[in-house]
Symmetry: C2
Subunit: 203 residues, 2 copies
């Protein structure tokens, strides 16, 4: 009986500490985002990340199993904080250009993105591999839907596959952000916008 | 006088050991290429790279100042061993597609490329930053020249900037190789070849 009587409080207690844990985890991620804003986390160990965001190595390991898991969580949270989703009326290209211009304003996040994508290629089943496989699939699907609708409405040339174009647009945007960060004379926005010429309906 | 008399021999001696050094350095790079062929060097320390390619940590440090310098040298040598340069008659797109198809046959090199590009974004003046800034500039120039010639010959639509298209083609190829490695249902070759439709002269 005692255990039953105590159960609700115990549950509340657990829920309370669970919520505290979630809040603490998000606080750690937000501090990491600040630290990585200018430069990504390139080459730094979990221990030195802990130091630079001002938490103990042990605390970091309490919330994240590995450096990679932490970095994926940082990227995911940073992305969630930016509103890069377009409304239904926007074209695939407009959504993409808007997201790219937001990204390059935070060079450390482009670097973090690129290094995590590189890590995702190393082995299946790792945190970065699962995150980026799912993320690319989701964004390709979203853009494919927009492009299919644009093609049906006669706003996209009819002789290309929407799914291919979705992959191509994402690839071009990812690659151009990198080239622009290395060489600002590369015309990121203008070059991406060229797709509006390339993809225009042929008359 | 003695030093003058000895000079030619000393020079030959130095040249000999210099040549031996060059050969040894290339041997190390070739072994690293073999080790990294399937998986890149992701996350491994210089010490563990030394172990996996079967040389001492000290020997590796004799030839390379840092892990990053070694990895840039590995990538540079691996790229030099592949003939990805097109002959003068080939179109920019054909050169690009051919290079992409060779690259994805060596997943570890795509991973190494992507992780070094990520590192190159972290700070100016690092080995990866200098290598990739120069490499992107060189490849953009090469493709721009081809595209300019194609435009003059009426084989490329006239309403796009060759320099923008060069950056765009490279970006799309880099990005698509990554997406294809993560999700083989992404149609790498067909999608890149779509550019022959998108860039065709408008009549």
């Amino acid at each position: 009986m005692t255990s039953q009587e105590n159960a609700p409080e115990a549950v509340i207690g657990r829920a309370g500490s669970y919520e505290k844990g979630v809040a603490r985890r998000q606080e750690i991620l937000d501090r990491a985002i600040e630290v990585f804003r200018e430069r990504g986390a390139g080459g730094t160990s979990l221990r030195s990340i802990a130091q630079s965001i001002g938490v103990s190595h042990a605390a970091l390991l309490h919330y994240f199993d590995s450096r990679e898991q932490l970095l994926v969580a940082v990227y995911e949270r940073a992305e969630g904080q930016r509103d890069t989703s377009g409304d239904a009326a926007e074209s695939a290209l407009d959504v993409l250009v808007k997201a790219a211009m937001i990204n390059v304003g935070v060079p450390g996040m482009v670097e973090l993105y690129t290094s995590l994508v590189a890590a995702s290629l190393a082995a299946e089943g790792t945190p970065s591999n699962e995150f980026f496989s799912a993320r690319f699939a989701r964004i390709r699907d979203e853009l494919t839907q927009r492009l299919t609708a644009e093609q049906a409405a006669g706003r996209l040339r009819g002789d290309v596959e929407p799914a291919d174009m979705a992959a191509l647009l994402i690839a071009a945007s990812d690659g151009l952000q990198i080239q622009w960060l290395l060489e600002p004379s590369v015309q990121l926005e203008r070059t991406l916008e060229t797709f509006s010429i390339l993809l225009a309906p042929t008359s």
